[in-house]
């Protein structure tokens, strides 16, 4: 599904190399987790994949379903099926959450040559999905993420993901700042989307989330590289011993 090969990325404005050769393949139907110390480049990887400005790919490649995505605009990547749940969801004053969702859903449909969703159908679907994430009518009406609590913002990300039904979902620290109940809701939302045709890349610091979203593969990222890959037991090892042992082992 998602194939990343020897990806090197530096900042556009500064001479600072952040990703130093990332290799990673997420197969359809699988959940991969990335763990790693702060500053190792996890968010950068998710931004570069989703097409944010400010980064320069100096080497390597990334493709989605066999299609090279690095030359695509952000919106084209989204239409191709890539979704990033932001570590820090953006507030957009003046744009209603519902308008935002509907514009996004229909823009993607249009880009794929599909029929737009009618207002009535959209409303029905969004209400149903919002309900399972405990997102009330008021949150749907309010401007995008404005005045939302940390937990509300993260649930709103999952709602967008549920509405857009992407092929490849990247979740950047979606669990941070969530209490146990909110995390369960988010995890249920993600699990409801798991199916044979969809890949997940879950970036997290904590085993906690991985108790609810069971990963198939766990990667450890440090200093811009994947330094270790293993099964779910690798996350437990991090939980118990921290990163020090793994990093020392690599040195």
């Amino acid at each position: 599904m998602l194939e990343i090969k020897n990806l090197h990325v530096k900042l556009e404005e500064e001479d600072k190399q952040i990703l130093k050769g990332v290799d990673l393949t997420v197969e359809a139907g699988k959940v991969h987790a990335i763990m790693g110390p702060n500053g190792s480049g996890k968010s950068t990887l998710s931004y570069v994949l989703s097409g944010r400005d400010g980064y320069e790919v100096t080497e390597g490649a990334a493709s989605l379903g066999g299609e090279d995505i690095l030359d695509m605009e952000a919106e084209e990547r989204a239409a191709a099926g890539l979704f990033l749940a932001f570590q820090y969801p953006v507030e957009i004053p003046g744009v209603g959450n519902m308008t935002f969702l509907r514009t996004a859903v229909n823009a993607q449909r249009k880009a794929r040559g599909e029929e737009e969703m009618s207002a009535a159908e959209f409303l029905k679907v969004v209400r149903e999905k919002a309900k399972s994430l405990k997102i009330d009518a008021d949150m749907l009406k309010r401007p995008v993420n404005v005045g939302f609590s940390g937990g509300e913002k993260k649930r709103n990300e999952i709602l967008q993901m549920a509405m857009l039904e992407p092929k490849m979902c990247i979740l950047d620290e979606t669990d941070s700042g969530l209490d146990v109940d909110a995390m369960k809701l988010v995890a249920e939302g993600v699990n409801a989307l798991r199916d044979a045709g969809r890949g997940f890349l879950v970036i997290t610091h904590y085993q906690r989330l991985l108790d609810h979203i069971k990963p198939d593969v766990v990667h450890i990222m440090a200093d811009g590289r994947i330094v270790k890959t293993g099964g779910p037991e690798l996350a437990l090892e991090v939980e118990n011993n921290g990163y020090a042992d793994i990093l020392a082992e690599m040195a």
């Binding site: 989703s50 097409g51 944010r52 400005d53 605009e73 952000a74 919106e75 990547r77 989204a78 239409a79 979704f83 990033l84 932001f86 969801p89 953006v90 507030e91 957009i92 004053p93 003046g94 744009v95 308008t99 935002f100 514009t103 996004a104 823009a107 993607q108 880009a111 401007p143 995008v144 967008q160 857009l164």
Partner: protein, 437 residues
């Protein structure tokens, strides 16, 4: 405390310009019950002279084309690509074509809750209420800053409408200004009196003329409410100068919103005098300019004289391809106007590096227990928000429009009537859509 008028500086050019303009206009109308008001307005004007490029109050906007004897020609605009504004709203239509009243296209001037009358139809013998208002608020509004083009209007306006609301008006009155002559030079003057506890909404739309000078005086008595929503036509080459003078008694409400899209020159002045206690005055504007020949100026002067007054100024301008936006806004809180709540925000969204926004916000406060705030910003579109939208699949052009509408939203929210607000929003959306690359 006294407020002395800021006298315009004498200048030979000013005198010559004024004389040339008056020469073309000829004699004032000395018939009808407004003759006296016209005469004193002309005297006021002759004393002040017309605006001069070096006047402080015209520092950011060149008055030349508003002052010159003949109106510069303005090509007609074919607006058939859009449904007429306020189409779905039940209203009383009063139509002016190039400043001339058109009875055929107008509704009959009758409605429950209000009295309507054309100024041009008032005769010598009429003892009409409008005589006590016509030119009166305009004259008051000449201090401390002179507004010669308003005095010119009082002296020479060819027509206008007098509306007196004695109750809750059954429907809004819609003044529609059509432009059919490329060289038209129109001057209209409206006087509006909202009696105690009465309510009235006035809608205005259309380009009006190649050059349009409009003046509106609005007197709101105790507990009365006046709502005003205006859309200045899409004609690219039109020139417009407008003045709205309002005087508010205890617990009176005045709310005005203006949408401006296109036009080479627009100067909208609002002069609001909160004389009573507990009154509310809001003035807002959304303007859209595309191109180096777009110049839009909002000039506001709010005077708080009573207790507990609330005033709000919310102005948003979207500028692209070298367009210019101007905002001059002043809040004056007189001695004793305690508990005044004055708010002023003016913001521009610059869609490129060539466009510019010039703002001069001012506060002058002589009372000690007031809350006044003002802010002015100028900036590009929020990149974070733009990326967020794009990452959800919204194409760049559409995302930019969505962010632009979001920027304007705070001004649109000043319109109380949801249906009208929606109408205005769809206009803005259509304007943006026509420019999508």
């Amino acid at each position: 405390m006294r407020f002395a008028p800021v006298l315009t500086k004498p200048s030979a050019k000013r005198d010559a310009d004024t004389a040339a303009r008056l020469d073309v206009l000829g004699d004032i109308d000395a018939t009808g019950c407004l003759a006296e008001a016209r005469k004193t307005a002309l005297a006021r004007l002759t004393e002040m002279g017309l605006p001069h490029p070096r006047d402080e109050y015209w520092r950011y906007t060149k008055p030349d084309t508003l002052v010159q004897p003949q109106a510069p020609a303005a090509a007609l605009h074919d607006a058939s690509d859009e449904a007429p504004l306020y189409d779905g709203i039940d209203r009383l239509k009063v139509v002016f074509v190039d400043g001339v009243f058109d009875p055929a296209q107008s509704d009959s001037l009758e409605m429950a809750g209000i009295e309507l009358c054309r100024l041009a139809e008032l005769s010598d013998t009429d003892i009409h209420w409008s005589r006590d208002l016509y030119g009166v608020l305009e004259a008051d509004g000449q201090v401390p800053v002179p507004r010669p083009l308003a005095a010119l209007n009082t002296a020479y306006a060819s027509d206008g409408i007098a509306i007196r609301a004695t109750d809750k008006a059954a429907r809004p009155v819609n003044l529609i200004y059509l432009h059919e002559n490329t060289a038209s030079d129109a001057m209209l003057h409206h006087v509006i009196k909202v009696e105690a506890g009465a309510e009235l909404t006035v809608l205005e739309n259309g380009p009006a003329a190649a050059r349009f000078n409009a003046c509106m005086e609005v007197d709101v008595a105790e507990g009365g409410a006046f709502h005003h929503v205006r859309a200045q036509g899409r004609d690219r080459e039109r020139r417009t100068v407008t003045h709205i003078f309002t005087r508010l008694a205890d617990e009176a409400t005045f709310k005005s919103f203006t949408l401006t899209a296109n036009g080479v020159l627009t100067r909208n002045e609002a002069i609001m005098d909160l004389q009573g206690n507990d009154c509310v005055a809001h003035v807002a504007g959304a303007s859209l300019g595309d191109g180096g020949d777009f110049h839009h100026d909002d000039t506001v002067f709010v005077t708080h004289g009573g207790l507990n007054g609330e005033s709000r100024q919310v102005f948003k301008k979207v500028l692209r391809n070298g367009a210019t936006g101007v905002f001059q806004g002043k809040i004056l809180v007189k001695e004793g106007a305690q508990k005044t709540d004055g708010y002023q925000i003016s913001q521009s969204l610059l869609l490129d590096d060539d466009s510019q926004f010039l703002a001069k916000p001012e506060l002058e406060i002589y009372a000690d227990d007031v809350a006044c705030s003002h802010g002015s910003t100028s900036g590009a579109i929020d990149e974070e928000g733009l990326f967020y939208l794009r990452s959800r699949g919204v194409p760049l052009a559409e995302a930019t429009d969505l962010m632009t509408l979001a920027f304007l939203a705070e001004a649109i929210e000043e319109i109380d009537n949801a249906e009208i607000a929606e109408d205005i929003t769809s206009r803005l959306g259509a304007w943006l859509e026509r420019r999508r690359g």
